[in-house]
Symmetry: C2
Subunit: 179 residues, 2 copies
């Protein structure tokens, strides 16, 4: 797992426990600008493999608000840092469509190439509730609860990242078929 | 001039007329994500020079709003496409500090390396006025007029891009000193 975020590395290590030994490689990958998280993850994986030269995964996550044409999209982290949830809710004033989704792309790279797995979690924007999680979690409601009201252990079972990891895991368990 | 924007190429060609023949190379450079336009331009120039292998310039522009911690910064084009000036003014509701600036970085690359030139234009956010220009021009007031109220020929003399070009030009006229 190539990331500069050790929490993320730990989450993924525990996900694959007993199946694959996951090692954390702390490497800052240059991120290309692209509207599609799959392409961003693919580019990061390509760069990381050129450095690490071992089978690896990287990930990238977008947060997309339908009424704002998908904003902030792949710039979720930057926008959160600048505007916070207050800014997002201000932009949503008067908007009727409150739907939004998270999307994670996980790219797996080895010497045979790169494969990208996606996971999506759809929900609704609400006034902030809850104290768990981070970022947009308090304003993102999924099945009646905000992500900040869902314990981290449950969130890491149902989240967009969990879905992408499940797709990766299924593929690995199937012997990494080419098609 | 390496850009996929032919208007920009034309503007820069006319700026250097009689001094240097500027050729337009239409090449889509991968853009790294970075908070600093200078670094974005430097990376683009490095990539472009590896492809074109002739002395070249590239540019990148940010739009920074002080009350929003510099948002949208280097993501100005993406954010304009998603939120428009309406979204920016919504975010600014209730904010007292209306100051903002444009910043252009122009990177010049040749076989001896890369040099970056900056140009800044500071102004104030206002309700939209004027029909010239594009993007944030109607809501950006500079010395009593919005950029959309200033004829394009005058704008291209006083703008952030013009300042960066002037710095580049001065350096070229001085024989490209190393320090």
């Amino acid at each position: 797992m190539v990331t500069s975020n050790s929490h993320k590395a730990e989450e993924i290590r525990s996900y694959f426990e007993g199946l694959i030994d996951v090692e954390h490689v702390c490497l800052e990958c240059p991120e290309y600008r692209h509207d599609d998280v799959g392409e961003i993850a693919r580019n990061k994986a390509s760069y990381a493999f050129s450095q690490v030269k071992k089978p690896l995964i990287v990930d990238d996550t977008a947060f997309c608000i339908d009424a704002l044409s998908g904003f902030p999209g792949p710039y979720a982290a930057y926008v959160f840092q600048k505007l916070g949830n207050k800014g997002i809710l201000k932009l949503m004033e008067g908007e009727e469509n409150k739907s939004a989704h998270f999307e994670t792309a996980i790219a797996y790279a080895d010497s045979s190439g790169i494969r990208v797995f996606h996971g999506i979690m759809s929900g609704t924007l609400v006034e902030p509730r809850g104290r768990e999680g981070f970022g947009y979690d308090p304003i993102f409601e999924y099945q009646g609860k905000t992500l900040a009201e869902i314990p981290i252990i449950e969130k890491s079972r149902i989240s967009h990242r969990a879905m992408a990891l499940a797709n990766l895991r299924t593929w690995i368990m199937a012997g990494r078929p080419v098609n």
